[in-house]
């Protein structure tokens, strides 16, 4: 879906941050505005998932095309890259989303119990915090992401490392078998 960006008026009396006369862009399309507003509600789990998906679309091909190393090293390197991306993305998304959901329980401005307000900042009045829905969501996202970093100190070794190792070896064996089949086929054709 294309975002309809229309150029508005040209300002000639002000200096832009590049020094050139400023050109203005107005997003008039309401659907585009709603999409951008929805994206603004995303946080670190969504960012991590998008990064993981785009990584799978680019990194393995870059590694496979690397002619600076021999074929065997290229094969292992590609297998390890795919394993690393899959393990890292799964753990990254789950841990971040889980921590943000947990932090929701500790930032409930309407709750009566003290422990449920443990992570509400004191330099903001609770009324302001209750009404500032956007800030509340951002605050939960930020704290949840920081807590997730500490949790990942454990999951990196408990999950990422063994899963990466398993996937690397599994994919390496698969690529080797496919490579041998290809060679046998080529020899048969000669």
């Amino acid at each position: 879906m294309a975002i309809n960006v229309n150029t508005n008026k040209r300002i000639t009396n002000g200096t832009s941050f590049t020094g050139a006369p400023s050109k203005l862009y107005t997003i008039k399309n309401e659907r585009a505005q709603r999409v951008i507003e929805k994206i603004g509600e995303y946080s670190s789990p969504h960012s991590r998932l998008i990064l993981g998906i785009t990584a799978l679309m680019t990194q393995p091909f870059i590694d496979w095309q690397n002619k600076d190393v021999d074929k065997d090293t290229r094969r292992v390197s590609t297998a390890r890259t795919i394993g690393k991306i899959i393990a890292g993305t799964i753990s990254g998304v789950i841990v971040r989303a889980g921590c943000i959901a947990l932090i929701k329980k500790l930032t409930d401005a309407n709750a009566n119990k003290k422990w449920q307000k443990l992570l509400i900042p004191t330099n903001v009045s609770s009324n302001e915090y209750k009404n500032a829905e956007r800030l509340l969501k951002k605050h939960r996202g930020a704290i949840g992401t920081i807590v997730a970093l500490f949790v990942m100190l454990f999951t990196n070794f408990a999950f990422d490392v063994p899963v990466t190792k398993f996937l690397t070896n599994f994919l390496n064996d698969k690529f080797k078998k496919n490579g041998n089949k290809q060679q046998t086929k080529e020899r048969g054709n000669l």
């Binding site: 050109k23 997003i27 603004g40 990254g92």
Partner: protein
């Protein structure tokens, strides 16, 4: 310091530094996330017994180069893209019709698109407790700002992590492997024999020569 005080300090610190800016939050938490995951991945290669030593000589330097380049390029590219995207919205260069209406309402048209205007610093937006605070302006502005901030920081991180870093680490890893192999050859040179030496029983003696040459027949030709 009890748990309550510690948690409040943590909450206040996060609120002050990271809550109000999605792009900055993603940048710094992403950086620390990459540092932790890189350390774990280097360990994964080192302890994997199925990867031969020869290939580890490429993969471990590749992982270290991956970590260093990933973190450096993540900070530089993601920060640049995020700052650029945020600047577009803060200066009013990129806006929705609703935001343009508010800009005109507060007579800020002449400053739009320039360094002089930072909408996040306006009293109508910045301080929610201020009598000048305009809730509708604030909502319209942040609906756009948060989305643009996320989009630009994601683009920056995709370019740094998925394009720049793989090419850079492959180049550095291959270079390191070649240097390592060359160093190995220098320390353990392969000795070649100077001439082939036949075992004693296979040598042709002078008596054998005489016996062969004194034979009156020459192959199948009868003289």
């Amino acid at each position: 310091m009890n748990l309550n005080n510690l948690s409040k300090s943590f909450a206040n610190f996060t609120y002050g530094k990271l809550t109000k800016n999605l792009g900055t939050m993603l940048l710094w938490t992403g950086t620390f996330g990459w540092i932790l995951s890189s350390f774990a991945q280097i360990t994964a290669v080192a302890i994997n017994n199925k990867i031969p030593k020869e290939q580890k000589k490429f993969l471990i330097p590749q992982e270290i180069a991956d970590a260093a380049v990933n973190i450096a390029s993540f900070i530089v590219l993601t920060k640049s893209f995020t700052k650029f995207g945020e600047r577009l919205v803060k200066s009013g260069k990129l806006a929705t019709p609703k935001i343009r209406e508010f800009i005109s309402k507060y007579n800020l048209d002449s400053k739009v698109g320039t360094k002089q205007l930072d909408i996040t610093k306006l009293p109508q937006i910045e301080d929610e407790m201020s009598p000048k605070h305009d809730k509708d302006f604030s909502k319209a502005f942040y609906n756009l700002f948060d989305g643009v901030s996320f989009i630009f920081s994601t683009i920056g991180s995709i370019i740094s992590c998925n394009i720049v870093t793989p090419y850079a680490r492959n180049y550095l890893g291959a270079k390191s492997q070649k240097n390592s192999i060359a160093k190995d050859k220098l320390n353990n040179p392969v000795m070649l024999p100077t001439s082939p030496v036949l075992p004693a029983q296979n040598r042709f003696s002078i008596d054998d020569y005489r016996a062969k040459t004194m034979n009156p027949t020459s192959g199948t030709l009868k003289i």
